[in-house]
Symmetry: C2
């Protein structure tokens, strides 16, 4: 028994003392610093360095100065001309640095002695080095060493802290605001403007698009077994849904993005709507985002359509084509009413009339009912997450935690999004088609349709199905990832930025918590997705829409995140997964059942460290292994034995036990 | 796919659609009413009717008028004299009533047509019947029927609602406040004072001690396979701890409760302390509750001692015997400092001087350090739980749930109790002995010592070990159950009542949530314990102390709750349990990691209904069954096969899989 240091109300969970199988032990995580860096002793090619420490692993630390890694060469130093101080020159000396392996295509730019002002461990002397992909820091004195490994893509803002006149220890340096709920503060020696070079380099490489440079995804030379770009094929996905059919047809009217430049090329529309109809409807919908089919219910043929708001304006304009078009949607499965879900609060919908938008009036759309879902806009969500960051980083507000959490309204927003999606899913289950829109139909609309589809369609709850869902509802339908995240862009205060996709992934996480056996993927996948939402290592979340991706040859020049994921699927698999194809999931959208996603939002805080793997998960995996071992022995015995006793073994799994066996086929080595 | 009725923000979780094994199906729970009554189709003798619907089961509904069940006989009707109205007479007619089986010894007293004002389903006509043990209601019209099954012991207060002059539908009737977080409201016809008889009977049988009647535990004729009274044998438990030894001796000075009438008969004290010393110390400790050993650390010999406050008083009295005695405790394992944990806030400890109490001053106790743990008193806890009830019953406060929950301070109190226990456990792990007290040493002290022991000693985390812990730290050491719960007593406003034990069980639940594999028992056991804390069906929680139990011949005249539990152990077993004998559990006592125990406090609300069994638990049990099946087949094959291949089967479980095998020995039929 050991005696941990205990302070009132904050006690670290000890590492699980449970026995581990060899498989698990082999991949055991060594925690090597207060900043949660973990090191895996396993060797692997190509070296992959992943940074979401609470659920992933950092791969083996190698000597930097190996042959395959470019050593700094002053002749191509971009700062050569500006680095006219001795201090700078000194700092540009590149030593071999242990403990970090570079990605193929990653290049070292600078390294420098620095002090990391760790909010948990205090000031730590060490060395920082910056590549075209990451900022890496390792402390010199602390034992275990504190390391930081931050993709430059996760950096939202870099500021100089403390001027020439500033006094006090460690007051001169850099302040870095990250997009992933943390801030970093570094101090340097004040003599000789020692921070100038590192600031300039960081500013340039963290915001390459603002400096005429390429995003790292275009420089990466990573190779994977799988090609993630082939995960989503629109026609295949529509065929899986039973489309086209006699009520719904595929149109290529947008093949050149001429109907709508933020939509994908392949669209599904009512069979009776002509191309001419589509063009007319296009004029009455914001950004030309006409109502198109996203999902159809196999049995009752109810559909989820998505679009942008109608261009009603102050004068209350009507458009017969739009009205007829929506009625075609209703008519397709023969129900009396079409439900239009406007994601916005009704006051916002009314206010949009002033800028030409609005909502479907009762008079104009007689066979439709309009329901407002009261979900707030991107600005409200951005401010809400900012407030959440304020109460969790660096220190978690403890004395009034619950009311502080409430005052961020984050969970309340989550609740409204999930509630809205439940209403969509329930309407569909009841056989009624729905049209979902917000203002432009690329933020709240994507949240609602994709969550409703996740509730309705178990395919999207599989590892590959979930990738399809993201590719389809978010990427191909033009959620403005570039604007919302600001990849490579220095304008941190851009009002277009907003954590809409983060909020969606949080909603998915809430569902996985409420239905722990319903999803094939685990929390690691969700955190990995959010990490690479920012990292710019993969092309997956770059650009606002398909037309921009085509222009920039994204698929041929970058690697897909799904290449990484699908090359190591077992790492992202939920051992408890039990396929149930016809089950509609209705999560409970009440405040008592929603939880803050602590393992994502508060993962940088070492006091909140969660166990790497839940003991229940661990026990389950052990039991799976044991079951497999027995099965193997049974088979061996069966081979060597011809007695009548062994004949029934071919039917060794009972009907009741079918599901565990079923999912074990792809789970026998979850670790 | 079905379409549930959906309202914004409140959606029912659908029943899990996962396939179940036959074993599970056999015991499947049928939910038969909005008030959460569940019916098990299994038949069993003796009929046991359990009422904690969210985790237990109500046993098969039988016809009431069976031969073994006493039919109402007007000649022994206790209300014969007072029931002089036609309405009353009519109501006293006893019909055979289906759907409820009586306990052996349970007798019907009255049944009556009544309206249950269900807060969730509205007014429901039906019939209520009252026995000497319970109030049972079944609706006549609702489909499925709504039933209530409330042990009279759970009733805290019965009031008449609406006077002769009251108007309005269903305004005349009874208001029942329960001790288990719910209220019940019944309406009757206003004509002929129809509520008088039922009010009188309920008042008399719900509060038997206030009416010269016996508690039901003394009337029950239940028989069980196991005798729960043999679970705890003090000498055996001390021997398990390695006591007595050369530093600690067993004393029988309290054999006749002459030293301290609220202590058990067998005490462990420092070897060097004479009986005379104990008598002297006794004079300086509130209620004579001297410091005695509760637990000793096998390796480092650090001990947890418990006692009441020293009688310091306003004048700051000292007592050399007490000071020397505490130093003997410190001395026993040779450490320099003894830590005294005073559970109270320091201001309360100071205030206690005014009534003769106080705390150990620095000057007097030179080798001791005193730490105040800031846990509030019984009155604060009572009011806190009342506030919690206000926000969860009947309706859960949704719009400001988090801040409302915070304003009850319930979780904050839980946090302080757990934090205190962590400090005790940590001090012990570090090899230092501690003395724990509050004012009298029977409320907060019991919470702290028993929680610390649960953290330190894995034996108490087993099903039987937990029973020993409760019998020892709570029951034998005189937690005033009779006063705190008010068994059979009509004085609902008694200031001595307080949910201290409920709060402790909540702390245990928090630990089971944070360490899901560390406890052999499941949540059902905790809820069952709390149900029978109130029910008066078992003798376990009756009376304030051992001397009162002896006087009232409790062990010979009543049945122990552990008789029920230990006769069906598998029902209370946690399938994930993994024994780990040397692990000290340090739960995280921060607000972010503490949860409201929704499945206990909000279990009456049908909207909060939790899944009967978590799908993960279900999957795990299925897998255990499958593993066992394979193992059985392997054994069969081994018997019939003499080939060399089968020889290694005797060693069929690998070292890594040892723990699953280990705990399966008593888990192979968890259902």
């Amino acid at each position: 028994m050991t005696a941990p240091h205990v302070t009132l109300g904050e006690v670290l969970l000890p590492e699980s003392g449970a026995k581990q199988t060899d498989k698990i032990r082999e991949r055991r995580i060594a925690v090597c610093g207060a900043c949660l860096q973990k090191t895996d002793r396993r060797q692997k090619q190509p070296p992959v360095l992943i940074r979401s420490q609470s659920v992933e692993e950092v791969l083996p630390c190698r000597v930097m100065a190996s042959a395959s890694i470019p050593v700094y060469n002053s002749s191509n130093n971009p700062l050569e001309n500006s680095s006219n101080h001795n201090a700078s020159r000194e700092s540009l000396k590149m030593e071999p640095l242990a403990d970090c392996s570079l990605l193929p295509g990653e290049e070292r730019i600078i390294d420098k002695d620095i002090i990391y002002i760790c909010p948990f461990s205090g000031a730590l002397k060490g060395k920082v080095f910056i590549t075209n992909y990451r900022l890496y820091f390792k402390s010199a004195d602390a034992d275990p060493a504190v390391t930081l490994d931050v993709p430059l893509g996760a950096i939202g803002r870099v500021e100089k802290m403390g001027g020439a006149s500033s006094r006090g220890e460690n007051s001169y340096g850099l302040d870095i605001t990250c997009k992933d709920m943390r801030n970093l503060r570094f101090a340097l020696k004040q003599e000789g403007h020692s921070r100038r070079d590192i600031f300039d380099i960081l500013f340039k490489y963290a915001f390459p698009l603002s400096h005429g440079l390429l995003l790292f995804a275009y420089l990466s030379q990573e190779k994977f077994e799988e090609n993630g770009w082939s995960v989503y094929k629109p026609m295949e996905e529509f065929r899986r849904q039973g489309l086209p059919n006699d009520k719904w047809r595929v149109t290529f009217i947008n093949a050149n993005y001429e109907l709508c430049d933020t939509y994908p090329t392949i669209l599904v529309v009512p069979f009776k709507a002509t191309e001419e109809d589509l063009r007319k409807v296009c004029t009455f919908r914001s950004r030309g985002r006409i109502p198109v089919l996203s999902w159809i219910h196999r049995e009752n043929q109810a559909v989820i359509c998505r679009c942008s708001q109608p261009l009603v304006g102050m004068s209350g304009k009507r458009n017969k084509d739009d009205e007829r078009y929506l009625d075609l949607i209703r008519e397709a499965n023969g129900t009396a009413k079409l439900t239009i879900y406007d994601a916005r609060p009704s006051v916002n919908a009314v206010a949009n009339k002033a800028t030409g938008g609005g909502y479907e009036g009762d008079d104009a759309y007689q066979n439709a009912e309009l329901v407002f879902l009261d979900i707030h806009n991107i600005h409200v969500m951005r401010e809400s997450l900012k407030k959440l960051k304020d109460i969790v980083y660096p220190n978690v507000e403890e004395s009034h935690w619950l009311s502080s959490l409430e005052s961020t309204h984050w969970l309340e927003h989550i609740k409204l999004v999930i509630s809205g999606a439940i209403q969509v899913a329930d309407k569909i289950s009841g056989g009624n088609s729905v049209v979902v829109h917000c203002s432009d139909g690329w933020d709240r609309t994507a949240q609602l349709t994709s969550l409703a589809m996740l509730m309705l369609d178990s395919h999207y709850r599989t590892l590959r199905g979930f990738q399809v869902l993201l590719e389809k509802e978010w990427i191909s339908f033009g959620h403005k990832f570039a604007n919302r995240i600001g990849h490579g862009d220095k304008n941190h205060a851009d009002q277009d930025r907003s954590p809409i996709f983060v909020q969606f992934i949080d909603c998915v996480w809430q569902m996985t918590k409420q239905f722990p056996t319903a999803f094939e993927f685990n929390e690691r996948l969700l955190v990995t997705i959010l990490d690479h939402l920012f990292s710019c290592r993969f092309g997956t979340f770059l650009y606002n829409c398909e037309s921009a991706r085509d222009t920039n040859e994204l698929r041929s020049k970058t690697v897909s995140l799904w290449s990484l994921v699908n090359s190591d699927l077992s790492f992202y698999q939920n051992p408890f997964y039990t396929p149930e194809s016809n089950r509609v999931l209705y999560p409970v959208a009440s405040m008592r059942h929603l939880e803050l996603w602590v393992t994502y939002y508060i993962r940088w805080n070492p006091r909140i460290r969660q166990q790497q793997q839940s003991p229940v998960e661990q026990r389950y995996i052990e039991l799976l292994a044991l079951r497999d071992e027995y099965l193997k022995k049974l088979e061996e015995l069966q081979l060597s034995d011809s007695s009548p006793n062994s004949s029934h073994l071919s039917n060794s799994s009972t009907p009741n036990a079918a599901s565990p066996t079923q999912h074990v086929t792809h789970l026998h080595t979850p670790f």
